[in-house]
């Protein structure tokens, strides 16, 4: 019973996206907080935080904003923004 | 094939209103950008009043000529805004949003004219006025232009709403124009931050508070003028004869 409910929940792409997004928020928190304070590799942590943020951004666009069904000009336009913004911020914050 | 109202006078009038918009942008570029030192800012919110006086005295004549051009530019906002309201009016059975737009147009025009007034007063006799008074005129000009977000943003929203709530095929302007207006309204918001900052990107000479609203505002005028030019060519967004309302009556 529980099993079937679970698999039903996971069959929905929106539910999976939400789980991944919340999970990566916690991962980003761990990266930004724990790694920086305890081990001290700030540059790697910073890069990790930024990449995680833009992966989340992309998931919101792809799944919630339904870009996965959009015409390619719109979909790839958004992809290009995500990549460009991530690269620019990486250069500014890490480079 | 839909039959639309053929009204040559309306089309000529719309062309006039569209050109008011284009000319407003051109005159502002001459007055505010090339001569007047409004954008890019000649003055800096964080500087001492004496620096203001020196910079203004050095460029006094130029700023005075610029004020004339800015005055012409801002006076044209009236016919520009009235044209948008007139096109909105054509699709209304009982006019509401066209009236609201006229009110916002008039308000926006007056506040914009105050920008040109205080710019002219700032350069009137900087050697006689106390330096802080000169500074206040500069502050006043930028506050009129940037702090008036609900007025200019509200104007844009009042243009967007009748387009968005209109029935399919009865929009006064294409639907994307509504979204451009909403975007412009959002871009003005950083202007309100000038209240809190005298240095940095949020002061009235800063990138975020000055450039973003100014570029958005004049780009908005240009886009709305282009939309009116399209109406003037009767290329889409024409009321249909025998629709819910007699379109001929609206323009008579």
């Amino acid at each position: 019973m529980t099993r079937s409910v679970e698999s039903g929940f996971l069959r929905n792409a929106n539910n999976i996206a939400w789980i991944v997004l919340v999970g990566s928020t916690l991962f980003g928190w761990w990266l930004g907080y724990t790694v920086k304070n305890v081990q001290g590799d700030i540059r790697l942590a910073t890069a990790g935080v930024l990449v995680t943020a833009f992966v989340k951004t992309w998931i919101v666009g792809f799944q919630f904003m339904e870009l996965k069904q959009a015409p390619s000009w719109l979909r790839h336009g958004f992809d290009a923004w995500v990549i460009a913004m991530c690269v620019v911020l990486l250069i500014l914050c890490v480079g | 094939m839909q039959t639309t109202v053929n009204d040559p006078l309306f089309r000529k009038s719309m062309r006039f209103c569209a050109w008011s918009g284009y000319m407003a942008v051109i005159f502002y570029i001459i007055g505010g950008v090339i001569l007047g030192g409004m954008t890019p800012p000649l003055l800096n919110s964080g500087e001492a009043p004496e620096v203001f006086v020196r910079k203004i005295t050095d460029n006094q004549f130029q700023i005075q000529i610029a004020s004339v051009f800015m005055m012409i530019s801002f006076a044209l906002f009236g016919s520009f805004g009235a044209g948008i309201a007139a096109q909105t009016r054509r699709f209304e059975t009982n006019p509401v949003f066209s009236y609201v737009q006229i009110v916002f147009t008039a308000g926006g025009q007056v506040i914009a004219l105050l920008v040109a007034f205080s710019w002219a007063l700032m350069a009137f006799r900087p050697e006689t006025y106390h330096p802080t008074v000169v500074m206040m005129f500069t502050d006043f000009a930028y506050f009129c232009a940037l702090f008036s977000v609900p007025l200019f943003g509200g104007w844009c929203v009042m243009i967007a709403l009748p387009i968005l709530v209109a029935e399919e095929g009865k929009e006064p302007f294409p639907r994307w124009v509504a979204y451009v207006n909403l975007w412009a309204a959002l871009l003005y918001i950083p202007g309100q931050l000038i209240l809190f900052f005298k240095t940095g990107p949020f002061a009235w000479h800063g990138f975020v508070a000055l450039w973003i609203p100014y570029i958005a505002y004049f780009a908005w005028i240009w886009i709305m003028s282009a939309a009116m030019s399209k109406v003037a060519k009767a290329a889409g967004n024409e009321p249909v004869v025998g629709g819910a309302r007699s379109a001929a009556g609206s323009v008579a």
Binding site: N14, G28, A53, T57, M65, E66, L74 | W176, V208
Partner: protein, 208 residues
């Protein structure tokens, strides 16, 4: 339920508006092209904001790192959670409107609004606490950016809540026309944009 949506459609379905599961294979612009023009415009402006923040971080790394430690991390994480969950419910609401429209559709949107309100409440609480402790936009550059940019974002959240109220009203209609679906999708797209912008702002202010 699906039939009621299909029947209501006067024109033949265009560009994957079919309310059937196989719509995934068809291309369709969510909402309408206009809202994407708006999204692109807003992303462009926020890109400028992100670069301004990153430049501040680059130039005053010490000050930024120090100021950051005084932020309440849990408030930021909680706010991210609120917006993500709000977005999730809105996405499920849109899905419900298209595939099995019923009372559940507007309930999902209501839940989205609730999480939006929680965000606003939490943000007010955070700001109130900061200001009570004497931390204002004038404290230093970090807090100037922090208050201004999250403030502009907060305006987006408030506008988004207004948009969701409209979406909720539309989604309560027993039968949804093509135009209704377009309104719902456009409104939801704006709400997701608010979520998306917060994700980046959260990382730049709380995590870096």
């Amino acid at each position: 339920m699906t039939d009621s949506i299909t029947d209501n459609r006067r024109a033949p379905p265009v560009g994957g508006r079919m309310a059937t599961p196989d719509c995934a294979t068809q291309k369709h612009v969510p909402g309408e092209v206009g809202i994407w023009l708006f999204v692109a415009g807003d992303l462009l402006v926020f890109s400028a904001f992100f670069v301004v923040i990153a430049l501040g971080y680059r130039e005053q790394t010490e000050l930024f790192a120090q100021s950051r430690t005084t932020l309440d991390m849990w408030v930021g994480v909680l706010n991210t959670f609120f917006l993500l969950t709000g977005s999730w419910f809105v996405a499920k609401g849109v899905e419900s409107c298209r595939q099995a429209h019923g009372a559940a559709s507007s309930r999902y949107i209501s839940l989205g609004i609730l999480f939006g309100l929680l965000f606003v409440a939490n943000k007010s609480f955070e700001w109130g606490l900061k200001i009570a402790n004497g931390v204002t936009p004038k404290t230093n550059d970090f807090f100037m950016y922090f208050f201004s940019f999250t403030g502009i974002h907060l305006v987006h959240v408030l506008v988004g809540l207004g948009v969701l109220l409209v979406v909720r009203n539309v989604s309560r209609r027993p039968e949804l026309s093509k135009k209704d679906i377009r309104t719902i999708e456009s409104g939801a797209t704006f709400w997701h944009l608010v979520d998306l912008l917060w994700i980046v702002l959260f990382s730049l202010f709380y995590l870096l």
